[in-house]
Symmetry: C2
DNA sequence: ATTCTTCAAATCGTCGACGATTTTATGAGC
DNA sequence: GCTCATAAAATCGTCGACGATTTGAAGAAT
């Protein structure tokens, strides 16, 4: 509701004459070619990212409905593409698609949360072990650079920024494992974890987490697989334990939540 | 306008079910049973399964094109639903969706194959370790039942049947781990592995694999986590090593490959 | 005869529309 | 005043259609 009905697709042309370029395919309309990359080329990614960021920044609390017509007019595309994005979001467990009842932001249950963290521990343990075997000196340098970024983000005290750097760190460590498949699975899990952490984390243990990250890098750089796995496990267990169950709520329009308009 | 309150498009009346996942919620069994379960209820699952089985049984070799219009007329649905299924198949890495160029059956490269098996070893190791902790006596009985099925399938000498039982075994062991997320990931990986094995396996080592399965169950039943993980790892390494690179090819129509018509 | 150009056929991406289902608003009945 | 039945609105699932892109083949030039 409260939907401003003024938004309309840029070019409908429909049945009337002069429909020179009515049906816009994946063509970038060969403009200057610059803005096309982010502007009109991959609209799907933009929608996905908007919803994803909205969920991560708590503008879209769990249970928020995401009606297809609303997203259509917000992004100026047809339902076909919106529906495709929603399917991808459902697959990544960001939203839940209830048949004939629309899409809502996923609300992980405590039990689900436990399983997610358990799965994440298993994957990160395996990947850290691979990382110890396969890392090079240059990799360690890059990890140290990331740790430095974390310190800056900590000073900033803006939680989403810190969460972003922390996520980057874990993904980078996982990338050292050299297995794209496990990395893809872990990326999915880290997204879901971030979603949960963004909801429940009291926000204020960044320093503690940063210390643990440093431990992990130290163990990897020394080639101590056992200690690296143990440090990662301890870090993840600590992260899970810091979660408490409180859920803020607010009432805004979908456009506001998506940081549009 | 638009009278005809009773006239319906040719094949409707039941297509509106539209449940996406395997779990079908509202069971409207009032239609006196028209084989709705397999006939016209969940068409998407039927299409998915047809392609999946076709790939697994080598009727659909890698690189086979899957044009949307062909699938549409084969299954009597519109392109929207076919497209949805193809997206799901792409996500599960069964097919590859090239923009504007159609879908083809995925052809895993040797490098990819190595990574897939590596990921699978990591996941199954973690799950077997969980299974050792959480299994009950009844679970062991069921595993023994599965092993007995394997012996029957071995005598049958029909490779797809054996592959099916072997897959069941791994999935059942993984289910004992009690983590639906890891189980889902492993299901995906086992599908991809089966696809690869179906392509390359010389077919004839069933007895050897069965022995290794027995070892795994034995270790689990005795609560020996270390040995269970080692047995699983050895089993998977052996499976990977038995793969050679030969690829049969034949020329049939899509309908024949899908075992229709 | 080979190669490049040109054209037609096949196929894909997106759109608007229609029926079916769910949700919400309204009014009768207790 | 509250509850339940009814109707209207909103939303979802599917379909056919249109334009754009790719593919494959026919024809001209060297």
């Amino acid at each position: 509701m409260t939907q401003t009905p003024s938004a309309k697709p840029r070019k409908t042309a429909s049945t009337a004459a002069g429909a020179r370029k009515a049906g816009r395919g994946p063509a970038k309309t060969d403009m200057a070619g610059i803005a096309a990359v982010d502007g009109g080329a991959d609209v799907e990614q933009r929608i996905y990212q908007s919803v994803f960021d909205g969920v991560l920044n708590q503008r879209l609390p769990p249970g928020t409905k995401l009606p297809e017509p609303a997203l259509c007019s917000l992004f100026g595309v047809s339902r076909a593409v919106v529906r495709k994005v929603l399917q991808r979001l459902e697959h990544d467990r960001i939203v839940e698609l209830r048949p004939n009842r629309g899409a809502v932001v996923a609300a992980p249950t405590p039990e689900e949360t436990r399983k997610i963290f358990e799965a994440r521990r298993a994957l990160e343990a395996a990947l850290v072990e691979l990382a110890v075997q396969r890392h090079s000196g240059k990799d360690i340098e890059e990890l140290h650079a990331l740790l430095h970024q974390e310190e800056e983000a900590m000073a900033n005290a803006y939680q989403p920024a810190w969460a972003q750097t922390a996520r980057n760190f874990h993904l980078r460590v996982a990338a050292l494992g050299g297995n794209p498949i496990l990395l893809a699975y872990l990326t999915e899990l880290i997204s879901r974890c971030s979603l949960i952490v963004a909801l429940y984390e009291p926000a204020g243990n960044a320093a503690c987490e940063h210390e643990e990250h440093c431990d992990i890098v130290d163990a990897i750089s020394k080639g101590d697989a056992k200690r690296a796995v143990a440090a990662m496990n301890a870090h993840l267990v600590g992260l899970e334990e810091r979660i408490c169950l409180e859920r803020p709520s607010s009432v805004k329009t979908l456009a506001q939540m998506l940081n549009l308009a």
